[in-house]
């Protein structure tokens, strides 16, 4: 009897085990608290707005285009602390870049991160309906177009993914899409954005119809579709709401942001610090701090990391009376010599190179420092498209059109020159086109456009030493990206 009792108890124990264990399946179903899952989002209009903010975030990678667009060209050298300080830029500087280059990889990945975030929103665009949804969709499509355009400028053919996120297994099934198809998508996105968006931004920082048309015009220009480019750019000009800011020298100051010349800006704030370990995480513009004067202790400017230093060649390209010369290239020794107590003002030459000049547009100025690390972040917005650029693009489109309108082109060109008190030009035909191209350099240097302009206009080989025709028009697809996508993509020519 007693023995039986023990076995009964023993059995009860085993039953208890079985119950605790198998009754506990539910116990393991723990859900993350107070966090939204990617799959149960887009339930309210606010969800859409917040996802859109996530797409905008990637615009803040603009500093890399300011670097590469200048350093790859005849405008700037890489600079920095040493030749291994952001090595990828030094390689690009010397046209020695190949498919292993961290900066080019950043360009590739950051733009696809923006595209993925836009696609995540667009994938869910039909989940609910509400007033103003079309404006959110339009902005997302604009941003996607912008990111694709960046990729096409750098790499040519790139995989085109639209309105869906790619699963990890699908990566190896996609190939590079011919550039023309990517451009078609870009145009369609921008046309949609231009149709939906108004000329005024509801909130400062949002993209507008003017931005959409101007970017569309630029996209046409890059494809030599001059008539279409002239058409959309003239819409922007004729709207009459944009104008050139009168003082070129202070155009890039924080105090003069979002003025009438602003067509499309990337917005930054200096109120949140960050770390060198994650430049893409910054809310401030990294470029001014990196462009800053190395270990400088004098007035007007802050100190920085001596990147992206203008060349003598650029300085000499300006007429001595052109105020844009000193507004673009800061002749550091001359500047210091003019200051009171100049003997006490010091700065250091980085071992990554020294040209005697600093980028005076995007540079760390006192009063525009970021917090808490003023070297790293800056509130200075990046001017992606200025009205001066719109005028010059339109001028070029009219001058290169099959049915050119040289007088209109000349008029736009002289508007730009007039703002900086440079004498009007009167050229026509090919000379006018050359003048427009030259004016683009004088007007837009230091802003990340030069290399792509040189390539687009077939002038890169003449201007850039080491430039190999048939190779350097495009950057190589980062090799690791080819490998990670299954190794089947064809590399760009001659890399």
């Amino acid at each position: 009897m007693r023995k039986f009792g023990i076995y009964k108890k023993g059995l009860a124990v085993i039953m208890a085990f079985a119950l605790t264990n198998f009754g506990c399946q539910k116990f393991l179903d723990v859900n993350p608290l107070y966090t939204q899952d990617a799959e149960n989002f887009f339930e309210t209009p606010v969800d859409y707005q917040r996802a859109l903010t996530g797409v905008y975030d990637l615009l803040q990678s603009s500093f890399i285009t300011v670097w590469i667009g200048e350093i790859a060209s005849d405008n700037s050298i890489a600079g920095g602390e040493s030749v291994t300080d952001t090595e990828g830029l030094h390689e690009i500087d010397e046209m020695g870049h190949d498919a292993v280059n961290q900066e080019l990889r950043n360009v590739f990945r950051w733009n696809y991160a923006g595209i993925t975030r836009a696609n995540y929103l667009l994938e869910n665009q039909n989940k609910i309906d509400f007033d103003g949804k079309d404006k959110i969709i339009a902005q997302a499509r604009f941003l996607r177009a912008y990111f694709y355009f960046e990729l096409v400028k750098y790499f040519g053919d790139v995989p085109l993914i639209v309105d869906k996120r790619l699963g990890a297994d699908e990566v190896t099934t996609v190939d590079r899409t011919p550039k023309a198809q990517v451009y078609a998508q870009i145009e369609s996105d921008l046309k949609y954005a231009a149709d939906i968006l108004g000329w005024d931004a509801a909130i400062k920082g949002e993209v507008t119809k003017g931005a959409s048309l101007s970017l569309l015009g630029k996209v046409y220009l890059y494809q030599d579709k001059f008539d279409k480019a002239a058409d959309v750019l003239d819409q922007v000009i004729n709207q009459g709401r944009y104008a050139l800011f009168n003082d070129y020298k202070s155009l890039f100051f924080v105090a003069n942001e979002n003025n009438a010349e602003t067509v499309f800006d990337v917005e930054y704030s200096g109120a949140e610090g960050g770390s060198y370990g994650c430049l893409i995480c910054l809310e401030g513009n990294a470029a001014p701090g990196f462009h800053g004067i190395r270990q400088y202790n004098g007035p007007v400017y802050g100190d920085g990391n001596s990147y992206n230093l203008p060349t003598q060649n650029l300085y000499d390209a300006f007429d001595a009376t052109d105020i844009r010369r000193d507004a673009t290239c800061l002749d550091i020794d001359a500047f210091i010599a003019k200051q009171p107590n100049s003997g006490n003002i010091k700065y250091a030459k980085g071992a990554g190179g020294h040209s005697g000049f600093y980028n005076n547009k995007y540079i760390k100025r006192q009063g525009e420092i970021g917090l808490p690390d003023n070297d790293l972040t800056s509130p200075v917005n990046y001017r992606v498209i200025r009205y001066a650029d719109v005028l010059l693009m339109s001028a070029e489109a009219h001058a290169r059109s099959n049915s050119p309108d040289y007088s209109k082109a000349l008029g736009y060109l002289n508007q730009v020159r007039n703002r900086v008190n440079m004498p009007a030009l009167s050229s026509t035909g090919n000379q006018l086109i050359e003048d427009i191209w030259n004016e683009r350099r004088l007007e837009l240097s230091g802003e990340g456009h030069r290399f792509f302009d040189l390539v687009r206009t077939g002038k890169a080989a003449d201007a850039i030493s080491g430039f190999v025709v048939g190779k350097h028009e495009l950057f190589p697809i980062p090799r690791v990206e080819i490998d990670l996508a299954g190794g089947t993509w064809k590399q760009n020519n001659n890399y």
Binding site: I6, G10, V13, F17, T20, N21, C24, F27, L28, P32, L33, Y34, T35, Q36, A38, T53, G54, D57, L58, G80, E81, T84, D85, T86, E91, D98, V100, N101, F108, R109, Y112, A113, G114, T116, R117, N119, Y120, P159, R165, A168, V171, K204, G205, E267, S269, A271, E272, Y276, C278, C281, Q295, K346, A348, P372, N374, V480, D483, L484, A485, G487
Partner: protein, 986 residues
């Protein structure tokens, strides 16, 4: 405690005991000599007794049960509490270093309260390599080891092989089972008071340039770079020794009191302790203080019911300085210029202006304020019921409750123009202005951060132990159990600005004066984890000769998604006690056992919810000049995510000689598969945005293989001498066998500022091996450069000459083709040596540890024109044939600062970790003064280190995960201590 708290100040700095010798050879010599000496053949006359028998009957805790050493089928190493206590080390992990074969412990920081990395049988994973630590049955974080008082520990048992599989999904990194002190039955209450007090100093300072040497070398450097020489006068004397000001003599003290005893039904052990250590850098700015309380109660409620209750309480308080990184106090100290004073004529800290990111380390220490407080209760209530003598049912509730409070005060500071660490606008300490809305600016003053976190683990376990003898020869044991575990954590934190008067006296959120609270911000997080397990162990033995044990455990973990939430982990082990065989006749070797085990265990140590895609990425943009938060996908989802599995084979032999020598040998082969990785994925997946990450996937294999030896010897001689000697050694190789598809390697730590990747996880190489250029001396002449078959772009005479690894005739700086393995942070061989001898009340003990064959990256040098340098730079290249090892000094653009073996040093070392001399009063004499026992001693830690390494301390762990090992940023060194201690038994 003033009566006994005497400080002994020894001028150790002057009597510098450092030796620089060819360490590898010496250590090998020492090892061989020691092994030879203690080989069993050496007959020691006059022996009386041997401890072999005692040793093999020792009972060890093996997880949900105990086993006699003789019967245990797995590979373990057990240590008694006394051997840890004797080392006088603040942390258990420090005390374990060099004591157990196969367990490598490296100090991650020598700062008070700093941690260690504990690696059982090598690095097996890319992620978390920490073993599972169980204190009296309660799961304990390795980070939480600060809370344990080494004096409270009765025994430590390390399960190294597959028998650890009784802990299933968390056992792959090995298991450390710690038991705290318990009372003995029928023992009168015994009170013991013990303590020590001492002083600490740095064991070493680096050889840095003095002001004169600095000025001369910098002049040469600038002249070589075509720049004007910065020093007109180089006769500057010795200048400032920043190290002398930064390193200080700091006190350390520890006191314990305990009461233990028992009746025939109840045993108890109650204790309390206090420990305090100030830092040799920063004193109270880098200090650690700990109070412990402990109650162990074991009682028979009735003949069948037993209650076992444990409660450990800890309160810790820690302050720390920025350490182990670019910008840390010691990094700044190493690079600060000897030509600048610490303070200027007005008494203000100097700015060290010439290098933007080097700040005055003394100013930095003065402005660092942080405190972290931990309150922790760990315990269990265990109720067991014996149905019969051989069938016991145990239920227990374990808990671990911790509150962690942090506070950091950031005053407005100004370290000099352009310094990144400045928080003020200018040297007047004016606050910066922040635009909070268009056109509205407010001041941003001193800030205080406060965080409150709580963690609560509950673990309910039930298990039945059954044992049955069948006939005379057969014995069967079985254990069936279940466990449910939950862990919850919560945090609330806030930062408040504009603390009054820029003063630490008001460093509390409540004191903030921020206008409208605009700048103040808050944060929080929370998590939950769950684990459900069922486990079974069956053991069979025949005639005390053959032992067989099988374990199977099934775990369900909330870390993984529904697709792969459950895993089953089996293992099997057996042993053969050969000396029990009839044919065995070697009487000089009365104990000989062979063991074999194989099993599979898991590792689930990854972030929660890694299988799901959450919207916790960073999607932030600036609208209307205000930073505006949106959403973005965080880590990409992987619903099929599962744990890593480690299959481990162990083959071992145990010997016990009659003359008192015991020897244990193990060979192991530990293969880890399905490593939990977060590798690079294609950019097309869009995971490169801020706060977005690639999915965690299972990919990659790692193999660790090695041989472990543990030998001990103890003897009591007739003339009153008693000696014990323990030696252990581990040979280990580590190799990555597979990395995820499409990935060549996983990059690890960087070298220099913004520089190259120096460490990697790559197939065919050890985890975290160093990759860079291999030097072949220094280019001596232009002619040599011109005539060289290998073209090195930009090379000038005096530059480092690199080896053309791929043989294409060019040194390729723009890709990896000329880089190769130039070092590994993993030692080939580690060695521990413990020695005790006592004679008529006097005792002497020593503990040594050596690690051989690992390398260290010298990454504490700021490669800037004005940064200070090691004196080894005096031997720089100055002209043809001046030297073939050190490059020229120049400010000009060179490739000498790319990562090469020039920056890799041999990190081998042998360290005398503890040396102690004590005297125990004769019990009869003690009785006369009313005591049961009294011992006093003098002890020294880290008295001697033999190494060629130039940095502060070669015993460096990792500050950045598996791939950050062996990178020295100016490591906070372990102190050299001299202590006086006592122990009184009332």
């Amino acid at each position: 405690m003033k009566g006994v708290g005497f400080y002994l100040l020894l001028k150790l700095q002057k009597a510098n005991l450092e030796m620089k010798l060819n360490s590898s050879k010496i250590i090998l010599g020492v090892t061989l000599a020691s092994i030879a000496f203690f080989l069993p053949k050496v007959s020691l006359a006059q022996t009386e007794s041997s401890d072999t028998a005692e040793k093999i009957d020792e009972v060890v805790v093996v997880g949900y049960g105990t086993a006699k050493k003789k019967e245990f089928t797995g590979a373990n190493s057990a240590l008694k509490g006394e051997s840890l206590e004797k080392l006088n080390l603040p942390r258990l992990d420090q005390a374990l270093q060099g004591q157990i074969a196969g367990v490598t412990i490296n100090t991650n920081s020598g700062s008070p309260g700093g941690g260690s990395s504990i690696r059982i049988r090598g690095l097996s994973t890319f992620g978390d390599n920490d073993p599972l630590i169980i204190v009296d049955g309660v799961i304990y974080d390795s980070e939480g080891l600060n809370a344990l008082n080494p004096n409270d520990i009765a025994s430590v048992n390390v399960l190294k092989d597959a028998t650890a599989g009784i802990y299933g999904v968390r056992a792959a990194n090995g298991v450390i089972i710690i038991e705290t002190k318990k009372g003995k039955k029928n023992q009168k209450p015994q009170i013991e008071i013990s303590g020590y007090s001492g002083m600490q100093q740095t064991a070493r300072k680096m050889d840095l340039l003095n002001a004169t040497e600095y000025a001369v070398l910098k002049n040469e450097m600038f002249a070589n770079g075509g720049q004007s020489m910065p020093f007109n006068n180089t006769l500057l004397g010795t200048g400032t020794s920043w190290q002398d000001s930064v390193f200080q003599t700091a006190p350390i003290q520890n006191y314990n009191i305990s009461l233990q005893g028992g009746t025939d039904r109840t045993t108890y052990s109650i204790g309390g302790s206090y420990f305090k250590q100030d830092g040799i850098v920063g004193l109270d700015k880098a200090s650690f203080e700990r109070w412990n309380g402990r109650v162990n109660l074991n009682t028979s409620l009735s003949p069948k019911w037993r209650l076992n209750s444990v409660l450990l309480y800890t309160h810790e308080q820690r302050s720390a300085l920025p350490e182990n990184g670019i910008g840390s106090v010691l990094y700044n100290t190493i690079n600060a210029f000897p030509t600048d004073p610490i303070r200027d004529d007005q008494g203000n800290y100097t700015y060290l202006e010439e290098v933007a990111d080097i700040i005055n380390p003394l100013a930095q220490m003065a402005n660092s304020y942080n405190w972290s407080k931990v309150y922790k209760f760990v315990g269990k209530e265990e109720l067991s019921y014996s149905f019969m003598d051989n069938l016991t049912f145990t239920n227990r509730l374990n808990y671990n409750l911790a509150w962690v409070n942090d506070k950091t005060f950031s005053p407005l500071v100004w370290y000099g123009p352009g310094k990144a660490q400045n928080t003020a606008l200018n040297e007047n300490l004016d606050p910066t202005l922040v635009e909070i809305a268009p056109g509205v600016e407010i001041e941003r003053g001193a800030a205080v951060y406060e965080g409150r976190s709580s963690f609560f683990d509950v673990n309910f376990e039930s298990f039945v132990n059954y044992e049955k003898k069948i006939g005379v020869l057969h014995n069967v044991k079985a254990m069936l159990g279940t466990s449910i575990f939950s862990r919850d954590g919560e945090n609330l934190s806030g930062t408040a600005y504009n603390i009054p008067n820029n003063s630490v006296d008001y460093a509390d959120i409540s004191a903030n004066l921020a206008q409208g609270g605009y700048l103040n911000n808050t944060g929080s997080w929370q998590f939950q984890e769950r684990l459900v397990s069922l486990f079974l162990r069956t053991e069979y033995s025949y005639a005390n000769k053959y032992f067989l044990s099988a374990i199977v455990r099934r775990d369900g973990s909330s870390k993984f998604g529904p697709n792969s939430r459950y895993g089953t982990f089996p293992s099997i082990s057996g042993s053969w006690v050969i000396n029990e065989e009839k044919f065995y006749t070697y009487s000089s070797l009365p104990y000989l056992k062979m063991r074999l085990s194989y099993g599979v265990s898991g590792n689930d140590q990854i972030q929660n919810f890694a299988y799901r895609g959450l919207l916790n990425g960073e999607g932030v943009y600036v609208f209307n000049d205000i930073i505006t938060s949106g959403v973005a996908i965080g880590r990409a989802a992987n619903p099929d995510l599962k744990w890593e599995t480690t299959g481990q084979l162990n083959w071992g032999l145990d010997f016990g000689w009659k003359n008192g020598v015991n020897l244990t040998m193990n060979y192991f082969r530990k293969s880890t598969k399905d490593l939990l990785f977060q590798p690079d994925v294609s950019g097309l997946l869009g995971t490169a945005g801020a706060g977005s990450y690639p999915p965690i996937i299972n990919a990659g294999n790692v193999l660790n293989q090695g041989i472990e030896l543990e030998a001990s010897y103890s003897k009591r001689f007739r003339n009153g001498f008693y000696t014990t000697v323990a030696l252990n050694g581990t040979w280990l190789t580590n190799v990555v066998q597979k990395v995820p598809e499409g990935v060549d390697f996983i990059p690890g730590a960087g070298f220099g500022v913004g520089g190259n990747v120096a460490t990697r996880f790559q197939e065919g190489f050890p985890i975290g091996y160093f990759v860079g250029y291999r030097t072949a001396g220094v280019w001596q002449t232009q002619e040599e450069i011109d005539n060289s078959p290998v073209k090195q772009a930009g090379a000038k005479p005096g530059d480092l000459k690199y080896t053309d690894i791929n043989g294409d005739g060019v040194i390729n700086f723009s890709d990896d083709s000329d880089k190769e393995m130039i070092g590994s942070p993993i030692p080939d061989f580690t060695f521990g040596f413990n020695f005790n001898i006592s004679y008529k009340g006097f005792d002497l003990s020593a503990n040594m540890f050596a690690a051989i064959g690992q390398e260290i990256i010298r990454n504490y040098e700021r490669q800037q024109p004005y940064a200070n340098m090691l004196t080894s730079k005096i031997e720089r290249w100055t002209g043809p044939n001046s030297t073939n090892s050190n490059p020229r000094l120049t400010t000009e653009l060179t490739r000498n600062t790319v990562f090469s073996d020039f920056y890799v040093e041999d990190g081998s070392f042998l360290r005398l970790r503890n040396l102690q001399v004590g005297y125990t009063l004769n019990p009869l004499t003690a009785k006369k003064i009313g005591l049961t026992g009294l011992r006093i001693y003098v002890a020294a830690n880290n008295l001697l280190t033999i190494t060629n390494y130039q940095g502060f301390d070669p015993d460096i762990g990792s500050f950045g995960g598996a791939l950050g090992a062996g990178v020295d940023y100016g490591f906070y060194p372990q102190a050299r201590n001299i202590m006086l201690g006592f122990s009184i038994k009332l």
